[in-house]
Amino acid sequence: MNFLKKFGIPIATLIVFCLIWEFIVWINGWPNYVMASPSDLGPSFLKFRWLFLEYGWDTLWRTVAGLLLAIVFGVVVGMIMGFSRTIREAIYPLLVGFNAIPKATVVPVVALLFVGQHDLNTILIAFMISFFPITVSISIGLSTLEPEYRDILLSLGASRFTIFRKIALPKTLPEFFGALKVSVTLAFIGTNLMEIVEPHGRGLGHLFDSGKISADYPLMFAVLIALAIMGIGLYYVVIVLEKIFAGWADRDVT
């Protein structure tokens, strides 16, 4: 029953969603260049299955690399901002300003900065678009630590590092994972932005672009679905990590 609830219901929802999609396309009589239907996707996936695997892998590892970079950078900057009010106030406007710039406009800048370094460029955009939520969550988590926690450990003679390790770090984990869920999807957007806007022959973004150029509309839809599947997959990886490292914050689990 539990298994059915956990996996059966989401899968059934997906099937119903596809049926409705198929039905809407069918009843309107749309040709596949207006709106592809789920039944068009299967042949597309089959026809380009090796490209999907190869390019899917490119997109996935670049996204994960950008995300890891965002985690390292976000945690370090978030920590500094969380512990020093002066630094927080000093760099907040800078961060917000940077985050407000549409990343599509940064793509050509980065592409020119590191001409030909396609992997690096793609990872950089994934990183730039996804670090902000992590930075903010860590800095808020640390700066809102109740002073009593600190006092209890300080009065026992604990060092600042001990306080960070025993209290600040674990206490911030739920906020961190909350931000990471947002960042995962953002990182995918970043990767594909680079792959589509600056095509360089690799990644699912490039496959999408090829579909557009060759007017293969079902292929374009298939790429979107492949991206969605990868996004869901990575999201659930984060959920599993969260359960392992911050499961205590989930009040429903007894």
Binding site: E148, D151, I152, S155, K171, A249
Partner: protein, 269 residues
Amino acid sequence: MSSKALIEIKNVKHAYQTDAGPLPVLDGLNVEVAKGDFTAVVGPSGCGKSTLTRLIAGLLFPNEGKVFLQGKRVTSPRNIVGMAFQNPVLLEWRSILDNVRLPLEIVPNELSRKQIDDRGYELLAMVGLEGFEDKRPSELSGGMRQRASLCRALAHRPEVLILDEPFAALDAFTREDLWQIMHELRHQEAFTCLLITHDLRESVFLADQVVVLSDRPAKTQYTLDVPFGRDRDLDDLYTPEATEILRDLRYQIQVAQKRVDEEIQEIDK
């Protein structure tokens, strides 16, 4: 008494630096607590009572005057102190037992892992939390969390227990339960206690000595020796003698708030 006092606060003056200039909170405060005694500090709100706890714990140093623990001047935090606050601040990601163990992970000691666990079990049993050792703090009621917080404060057998309004956020019945638990803990564990509270009945029920602080900047306004023995019953609070003591304290608080002077001036007019 002064040579034997475990906690000695001598002529302490302290002011906080604010944007509007220095804000004096303590002005010539003198408090002495003998080893094994239980002292309650009461006073108008915002009169600097919590500052007092931070001075004793070595988290803050006075502008003027001296604070001694065991005859030695307090110049840094000393791990002979245990603290509990109104907010129990339990670590939500740890079990109750692991929360109680926390001080023994920080204070150097030669206890084995098993001895540390046994100390936790022993304390939790004293406060009626046996069977809850493996629960998370979020699964416990407010009163139970506060009991666990008291156990944590006592885990490393501190000489001095500092309680900063630990029962203030609890409902009246839970609070009375915890008062009785405090008495039981005092029978089992050797500690000197300084309790900050707003509750006069609490101070009279728990303490050997009640110190009334004046309005901010605080100095010692009045000291009362509670004429009850160590074994106390809640019914003791409803005797004429207790009523007399409470009325006396209440009057002193009003003097501290300078309300009495105003009333007298009104009458003079």
